[in-house]
Symmetry: C2
Subunit: 599 residues, 2 copies
């Protein structure tokens, strides 16, 4: 496995030159102390930690996995020690409120550190990663007492958090969960039920684990409107014993998984476990959405991470591995064959990974910036607008970046040929680890319905228009810039088409609501490709401006422009087939009765 190297220059390009982090944070009330120097210091410290502490543990985690012995979970060699170091370096508290010990730095910085952690070692990163969502949920929905009890230790990282939603019969459809919460005399609740797929559900890295659990109160309405949210703290911490004296839950088993072996995915059986209601009764799913949205952006990071790590691995191999001669004549005549980077198919795979990694980085950081504005923007209007854009782009980023991350991981294996299938090279691990990203936190198909159904059609296109107007403004501002025409013309066409196909689907859906489900996945891919095209055009513009200003980093900026060109020529045309397919509508999917799929 190639050693992870944090792409600091590219991260700085996105944060400082594309998104102008310092400028944005100065103009709203987000972290006024967030100067470029400070950001760069944090990035460098995190890069050092990820490259030297986490990356070497990535294959160890895959090989060893977690061990489970009668409910006691031991994480792979080195995981615990790395976590202690992570706490000492102050990373857990980065973007949390100052009131509870946080550093109140912007999400835009936090996400870039999450990217490095996740790319170096995704399984490890999930332990602290899930705590972010628990912190957010408590910040937004916890009572003052709950905040005071749980936040300081969650923020510092001494405790970690989980998210207990799924039951074996209920995943995408949380409306049918069966876990119960019965009121105790002391105002707490007795939680009973079996939860599965609990990432970081039990481990030896933290003093205490705080479970955020969905369950039903007695007599609660059926479906999603009868679900409440509870905190169930683990009992292993001395501090918690008073709160959790009658708490009972058991980690009953581990799941045997395709990947993320270093993370403990648990089945937890709650049996009259003591829990505390968060937020109003029966509104648990609404409170949980805070957690889920954070987790969805976090999962989008996993897709970006897969693109970045498989790109790094494949690039190093492609420069080194010799096979055959270039069709246009030997390029390394002194060697017995040419390095495979001379072959067009290899270059195509590398550039695809690169354009997804760098484009995905821009998208994820942009989302984090909107999240900052939602939380701390100066005006209500500014916050509302940012919230709309964030709501629209979250399912796109989650589904599109995880699917393209899987595609990049596939190319990583393919560039290595047969060696890609062999574990020691690390490329197949990326495929296995990142496969979960298209499933958890809502599958690609669920994200697609969220995008097209809830975000686009239910708002009569208003939310989409907020974003296509941003693209339109960018197009208008650059329509006379000759150097940008190769990007502006296709972007303008795709942006217009986005509105057209939305209208087309909306009309059809009035006749048959299943048209929405039939179109959603292709619509999501279309939206993803166009969103990345917009960001690649913006990146090309920044690069061209820097070159025009006489920057000495000519190679870096030229690479941005040529990668944008690659994206527009070789990737964006994929929208064509998605439009053609979705235009054929729902009928071809429903001609066959369920009983006649096989004979």
């Amino acid at each position: 496995m190639p050693q992870y190297k944090a792409p600091l220059r590219d991260m700085q390009f996105v944060l400082h030159e594309l998104l102008m982090l310092e400028h944005i944070t100065r103009n709203s009330c987000i972290s006024r102390h967030c100067k470029r120097e400070l950001v760069d210091q944090y990035l460098e410290a995190a890069a050092d930690f990820c490259e030297n502490e986490l990356s070497p543990l990535n294959q160890v985690g895959d090989r060893e996995g977690c061990t489970w012995n009668d409910g006691v979970v031991t994480t792979p060699t080195g995981f615990k020690e790395a976590y202690q170091k992570y706490i000492e370096l102050g990373f857990p508290s980065l973007s949390a409120d100052e009131e509870f010990g946080g550093q109140a730095l912007p999400n835009s910085l936090g996400i870039s550190i999450s990217e490095m952690v996740g790319t170096a070692n995704w399984s490890w990163g999930m332990y602290p990663g899930l705590s972010h969502g628990a912190v957010r949920t408590l910040e937004h929905h916890g009572s003052d007492e709950q905040k005071n009890t749980y936040l300081p230790n969650l923020v510092s990282g001494v405790w970690t958090g989980t998210m207990c939603l799924t039951e074996s019969h209920a995943g995408s459809d949380l409306g049918i969960i069966r876990s119960k919460a019965e009121p105790n005399a002391d105002g707490s609740y007795a939680i009973s039920g079996e939860k599965i797929f609990i990432s970081a559900g039990e481990h030896d890295m933290a003093e205490n684990i705080i479970h955020i659990v969905l369950a039903r109160l007695p007599g609660a309405p059926k479906g999603t409107k009868g679900i409440s949210l509870f905190i169930v703290p683990n009992s292993t911490s001395m501090l918690m014993v008073q709160l959790a004296s009658v708490m009972q839950y058991v980690v009953v088993q581990f799941e045997h998984k395709m990947g993320i072996h270093g993370n403990a995915t648990c089945v937890i059986n709650f049996d009259q476990a003591k829990g505390y209601l968060i937020g109003p009764e029966n509104r648990g799913l609404n409170c949980m959405f805070t957690f889920m949205n954070t987790a969805r952006i976090g999962t989008a990071v996993q897709g970006l991470s897969a693109s970045e790590s498989s790109f790094q691995g494949a690039l190093a191999y492609a420069k080194d591995r010799l096979a055959m001669r270039s069709l246009s004549g030997p390029k390394a005549p002194e060697k017995e064959a040419d390095p495979i980077i001379v072959h067009p198919a290899v270059r195509n795979m590398l550039l695809t990974q690169k354009s997804f990694a760098e484009g995905g980085r821009a998208l994820v950081y942009l989302l984090a910036q909107y999240a900052d504005i939602v939380e701390k923007g100066e005006t209500e209007e500014e916050r509302k607008f940012a919230d709309n854009i964030l709501s629209l782009l979250t399912p796109i980023a989650k589904a599109f970046l995880t699917e393209t991350g899987s595609e990049s991981a596939k190319h990583g294996v393919q560039v290595f040929g047969g060696h890609g299938f062999i574990s020691e090279h690390g490329m197949e691990q990326i495929v296995r680890d990142t496969r979960i990203a298209c499933l958890y936190e809502g599958t690609t198909e669920i994200q697609a319905l969220d995008l097209l159904g809830r975000k686009v059609l239910q708002t009569q296109g208003a939310m989409l228009k907020d974003f296509t107007k941003i693209i339109h403004k960018f197009v208008e501002a650059n329509k006379d810039n000759a150097a940008m025409q190769e990007f502006i013309a296709p972007l303008a066409a795709a942006n217009k088409e986005w509105g057209d196909i939305t209208m087309q689907i909306g009309m059809r859906a009035m006749q048959n609501p299943d048209e929405v489900g039939a179109a959603a996945v292709d619509y999501l891919y279309f939206s993803g490709y166009v969103t990345l095209a917009y960001l690649w055009a913006r990146m090309a513009l920044v690069a061209q401006e820097k070159l025009a200003e006489g920057s000495t980093e000519v190679d870096f900026y030229n690479a941005k422009v040529t990668t944008a060109r690659f994206y527009f020529k070789k990737i964006l045309p994929r929208v064509r087939s998605h439009v053609d397919v979705l235009s054929t509508g729902v009928a071809p999917l429903f001609e066959l009765d369920a009983e006649h799929f096989a004979f």
Copy 2:
């Protein structure tokens, strides 16, 4: 893991109704005794064996893997016993020459049995599977003495064969292999060198293993024209001791792989091992092509198998699993939610798998039929024509069916949601097992170059024209059939476009040979989608005719027509993007210097 169920009805449809096996074999001199009743008997016997013996061992093989102890390899529990049964049932000798104990049944029957074996348990199937290639190589290139020595036991299955090509530095590029063969005084050769990725390289299932090895003679020309082919028999068989008295080779290690854990993938170190030249000196690669072409069709079967097994698993789950209500209103109001097969996105994935499995079956069996005609067709002209079509379609089938097999496997996991990531359900194993199919026997990119470079452009399009003429004839014959218009019109357009883009690429390649490499993968996908469209149109025609004749199997034939319709509406439009992408040519791939891919 759902129990494998052989799709006998569909296999019979392809063999008897689409390809008219009995008719074809009666009209050429292939196995005149190959009556429909006999074929069906074999199919049923194989189905019984695969469903009841092999399928239950599939997860066992994945979980246990092979164990290696100082060169002694033990296969997973039950593998050895199943192989004994396989021999007793006479399956190994099915399509081999009668002279050496074979049954001389057509490849078309053999391939359908390979499909069942491979779908039930691919790792197991590789042990006997590799022997087929060794048999073919010896049949074509071995001396009479070699045939008499090796074929009887290989044909009966008492011995197995391997294929030792790859070295750690040389896979796609066999021209740079370093293994040496030095003449011994007795006419044999001393073979030295390390070979990797040797599937079934060592195991406990057969009495002897016959290695087919590529090596260089002293003073041989550099590159592919200096490679010779050798037989290196294992020494463990008493019978062989006289032949192999000074033979030395050691299995030095196992590869740790993403999948196919039940198959022993070995590194073999040949150290002055005694070998025997097959065929002329320095013509080894040509002889090996016989082996490789057989192996490529065999690998295409692996893709089809992945589509079939993931379809079977996903279909059963989609009918059973409940989640959410159909957007067009509850479909199972008596249950707490609808089965997920009501959701358009799930249906889309299932139909995609189904159209790849059934379309892939038609393609693979068609190839086997052409292989029968190449070997035993009555006239030289008939044999030559079949050889051309087979040469053209082999890289398409190998690459396209393995890539679509991987796609189907992905859908299988996705239909299961989070459960797809969990090993016990068996869906993730299919992803891991089938991933190798896009790599070995020539990667997708190598197949694409073989198709576009060697088969299409080097013959000035003649080989392609042979096939597009077949499609054209089919279009002409059905152009007045109103019920077929939905298929005929798009097929005719795609067939014409096939010629057009070939011409376009050919013109560009005259300016810059790298245009071939830049276009090849998209060209391959285009060719695959059109080839399957042709077969789906043919299958729809057969089904319509059966319905018109008043067949009582109305549901079966209707399902064929509606699946064909699905394919034309939802899958074939994918060609659009491939054409758009390849029309942008080579330039966007070569703007970036190798040194500027990352900073």
